[in-house]
């Protein structure tokens, strides 16, 4: 039972990292990034390509891939997403959704749909004794790293000048500009940062999940549910809901496997009925 709960948190770690990136991007740009899953997939492929073509291993990939994808994200924001500011959110949906399909198809064209091989880093091949039970070391690492990253982002947002500006721009972009802050200067790095988080989640997934062009599209639907449950644009909410959903689906699989497909969405519906802005969302943020 405790082991299963822990295991749920490991699954939740991926949701949390992805939802965090989505929340930061939505907050700052007002864009629901439907291409987020594609960048998660590119993260896993990035790790695979580095190893396969350049002999660069997992640990370096953990840094290189998010940085590269972050830069790609920044370029994308500059070239495409920026042009949508002030337009109906529907355009943002169309652009990012189209982008997701294009990225997915480009990877498929090159690598096909079959999954690619990626070995676990040797250092984390074993199991760790966690007191109550043994657990695969790699998964403990995934949980720890994602907790550290989420915690660091939280500190960055709440304790630093940059975080203050991001929070202000997220909450009242117009006023923030009128107070002398060049909000658009911060939009590009924030978008890149959100993409980098998706890339990081992808690298972490490479050793334990199937690496194929479809991996992101399947996962991202659940992540959207996570973001909605946490409260659209709420950074803390998205992380908390990520781990919560990991936990709920693990225990759901255990006790009511027949519901495992739908449990997350039932939960989402229940939360929306009870708190339409999500668990940690601000009511006025939705109107």
């Amino acid at each position: 039972m405790i082991e299963q709960a822990f295991n749920g948190l490991v699954g939740g770690a991926f949701y949390a990292l992805l939802a965090l990136g989505l929340a930061v991007i939505f907050g700052m740009l007002g864009v629901v990034n439907f291409a987020h899953g594609a960048f998660y997939m590119l993260g896993a492929f990035g790790a695979f390509i580095l190893l396969d073509s350049f002999g660069i291993g997992f640990w370096a990939a953990l840094v290189i891939v998010p940085v590269l994808l972050g830069l790609v994200g920044m370029a994308l924001e500059r070239l495409l997403i920026r042009r949508l500011s002030g337009l109906d959110p529907l355009y943002g949906f169309l652009l990012t959704f189209g982008l997701a399909l294009i990225l997915q198809d480009l990877v498929r064209r090159q690598y096909g749909v079959q999954s690619q091989q990626y070995a676990r880093p040797e250092l984390l091949g074993g199991t760790l004794n966690l007191g109550l039970f043994d657990y695969p070391a790699y998964q403990v690492f995934v949980l720890a790293l994602s907790a550290v990253v989420c915690g660091a982002v939280w500190l960055l947002l709440t304790r630093t000048k940059i975080g203050m500006i991001v929070r202000a721009s997220t909450e009242k972009p117009e006023l923030t500009r009128a107070l002398g802050i060049d909000v658009s200067r911060w939009v590009t790095p924030v978008f890149g940062f959100g993409i980098a988080l998706a890339g990081l989640a992808g690298v972490l997934a490479a050793p334990m999940r199937a690496i194929n062009p479809l991996m992101g599209g399947d996962l991202i639907i659940v992540v959207f549910a996570v973001v909605v449950i946490g409260g659209l644009g709420s950074v803390f909410g998205s992380v908390a809901a990520g781990f919560l959903i990991g936990l709920v689906s693990a225990l759901g699989n255990l006790y009511v496997p027949a519901l495992s497909q739908t449990l997350v969405f039932i939960l989402m519906a229940a939360v929306l009925l009870w708190r339409p802005a999500g668990l940690f969302g601000r009511q006025e943020g939705l109107t």
């Binding site: 203050m164 500006i165 929070r167 202000a168 117009e174 500009r177 002398g180």
Partner: protein, 230 residues
């Protein structure tokens, strides 16, 4: 200080400002008086650069503002106190104060701010929106004072506040004026306007229909109140 020439503005097809021209001299407090929908708030937003569809010209101390984005205007020394007070819920009181960059040569220090607004000091760690309406108004004003802005655009700072707080705000505005700061004030409260301001523009249907001094305001008080529908 601020010169507005032939300013027009539209919301969609509807024209809300029609060739408005006005001038505010250095160190003056000038009010814009007019009914709801006369275009007062839009005028302030145009000066701030927040309204997209405008025609005409604006300059600050001879520097052309027309093509500048809002954050550049703020950095030239324009401080905006919006009608909804614009207090950030996700920022603490202190963060609300520290967020905008210092733009003027004589910014208020945090000590001065807290001395002038002791409630803000007490509540400095709480989220901005936990404050009462009056406290939020104080916070919005304190925020632009800390930047050292030379021109304040205050949008109905007394709206919905208790008389004792309205009086405090009047004190602050006079204090600000003593430091040589210029204020363009949107105000429905004619008494209050006459008690703090030097001159007044009367706006109706997007036009400046009259320019008045304090003596004229007092003389024509009844007529004005009737015009404002109060």
């Amino acid at each position: 200080m601020l010169t507005v020439e032939n300013l027009s503005a539209w919301y969609g097809e509807a024209q809300v400002l029609r060739e408005v021209s006005l001038q505010v001299a250095e160190g003056e407090i000038v009010t814009l008086v007019g009914r709801n929908g006369a275009g007062k708030t839009t005028l302030l937003r145009c000066v701030m650069g927040l309204h997209a569809r405008v025609g005409g010209a604006m300059s600050l101390r001879g520097a052309d503002l027309t093509a500048l984005p809002p954050h550049r205007r703020a950095r030239l020394g324009i401080g905006w106190v919006p009608d909804d007070r614009g207090v950030y819920a996700t920022l603490s009181v202190e963060e609300n104060l520290l967020l905008p960059p210092v733009t003027g040569p004589e910014p208020w220090s945090m000590e001065e701010i807290y001395a002038a607004f002791p409630r803000l000091k007490e509540r400095r760690r709480s989220p901005g929106t936990r404050l009462s309406g009056g406290e939020q108004q104080m916070l919005a004003m304190a925020r632009v004072l800390r930047t050292g802005s030379r021109l304040l655009l205050c949008d109905e700072p007394t709206e919905g506040l208790a008389p004792v707080i309205v009086e405090q705000i009047g004190d602050i505005l006079r204090q600000v004026k003593d430091r040589g700061v210029t204020v363009l004030l949107v105000e429905q409260n004619v008494h209050f306007a006459a008690s703090v301001a030097d001159r007044h523009y009367l706006l109706a249907e997007g036009r400046v229909v009259d320019a008045l001094d304090n003596a004229e305001v007092r003389a024509r008080q009844d007529e004005l109140l009737e015009h404002l529908g109060i």
